[in-house]
Point group: C2
Chain length 245, copies 2
């Protein structure tokens, strides 16, 4: 499928609006993704209002796509709606636990990816903001998410105003295992990461950041242990506050 094969994340969008009817069609089709027991454990909050985008921006570390994209979608794991239905039908829901969060988050991420594929096939560009789970609390407050609802993915959507270079991917032999997991020896690691490390942009990245290796940019600058640990604690607290454990 060419739209998947040739895709790239789009961070710059034209001024062209995304029609509400198109967005609805894409979301409706996206709901065809697999869902646990057909419970559809998700909600999607659509942000078009400029003021709302400005409010959400700090939670996403002020990444510019958030305020410049015509549409921002926050995909939320949601066991609230299903639990309301249960209670209204003389059934006692038992979904205030960690497993239920993972089930709902899984449903939500399948929906998210399905939406992205459909949006790109329709000529739109998207950017996936991983920051959503770094700072869920302000997002929960701004979007007024009730108990058993947690944001897991944010997608900015609009018509592309750029065509960036397609990023590299690891060779498939570094990802796929036949029958059992075949652990990687030093030579495998050298082989799998060779192409990535040799890319001029990555060599330059190392130079500019004054690190010895590309890996150090990840461990020492971009995704640091201390930050990950602090955000882990915050995320678990959020899950607790939202009633999921």
């Amino acid at each position: 499928m060419d739209s998947i094969k040739n895709r790239r994340t789009i961070r710059k969008y034209t001024q062209q609006e995304v029609p509400a009817a198109l967005l609805d069609n894409l979301l409706e089709e996206a709901c065809r993704a697999s869902t646990m027991g057909n419970m559809q454990l998700y909600s999607v909050v659509v942000t078009r209002d400029e003021e709302m985008k400005r409010k959400l921006a700090p939670a996403h570390f002020h990444q510019p796509m958030l305020t410049t994209a015509p549409v921002v979608l926050t995909f939320c794991a949601d066991f609230h709606r299903f639990s309301l239905w249960c209670r209204q039908r003389k059934a006692e829901p038992g979904y205030d636990n960690f497993l239920s969060f993972v089930n709902a988050a899984s449903d939500t991420l399948l929906l998210t990816q399905n939406f992205c594929t459909l949006a790109e096939e329709a000529g739109l560009g998207i950017c996936y903001l991983g920051t959503t789970i770094y700072n869920p609390d302000p997002i929960i407050e701004i979007l007024q998410l009730p108990e058993l609802v947690v944001p897991v993915a944010t997608i900015t959507v609009g018509y592309p105003d750029e065509c960036p270079q397609q990023p590299d991917r690891l060779p498939l032999r570094g990802i796929v295992h036949e029958e059992t997991y075949h652990d990687y020896g030093p030579a495998d690691i050298d082989d799998i990461y060779a192409y990535k490390e040799a890319l001029p942009e990555n060599r330059q990245f190392v130079e500019v950041n004054h690190t010895e290796t590309l890996a150090q940019i990840f461990t020492d600058i971009r995704y640091r242990k201390a930050d990950n640990e602090a955000m882990s604690e915050a995320l678990l607290k959020t899950l607790k506050k939202q009633g999921f454990c």
Copy 2:
């Protein structure tokens, strides 16, 4: 996109093999999905061996697709490979925490859904087995997954030997919220679930199971509080054992 719009889960497959080259192409294209910091925090274990399928079957509650499908794919959240690379490049990885599990699981589920879309577009049928996170421990053992690797989704794959009815989905107004989450009143819940509750197969389901409502089938039979709580505890234990918290 017709292949998404018309999709249905396929649980019965013909004897036709899924060529290895086709599977590789699909997995390679699927890797085009968004991934956090281009780290590709996933691995895929391919099961074709009959004996391996038989070993995996109990972990998936002996669902027949597992042993009758020509190919079973276990999609795993994987921070192990990336951490090996870091250590081999004088960088100290800090990904033995809960946030890193969620990041890796998110990457993995986007890959999973992308693969499913591509497989269906190529004429294959798939079934998503939600049981993977109910029983991760035996899967980890059978597939020999090392620390920082956890299975999050299993997909059975083959050429369709059935064309079941397409399942219902909730109306989009029950899923999408404009600007903020609009909580559901009793009338909204009645409205959103009316179609599902009126379906002849669901009415029959209630009758056969001797429950008063459809919701009770979920809470009292299919997804019970006590089971969810036990599996929550087990899943958290597994994450700890695999080094993620």
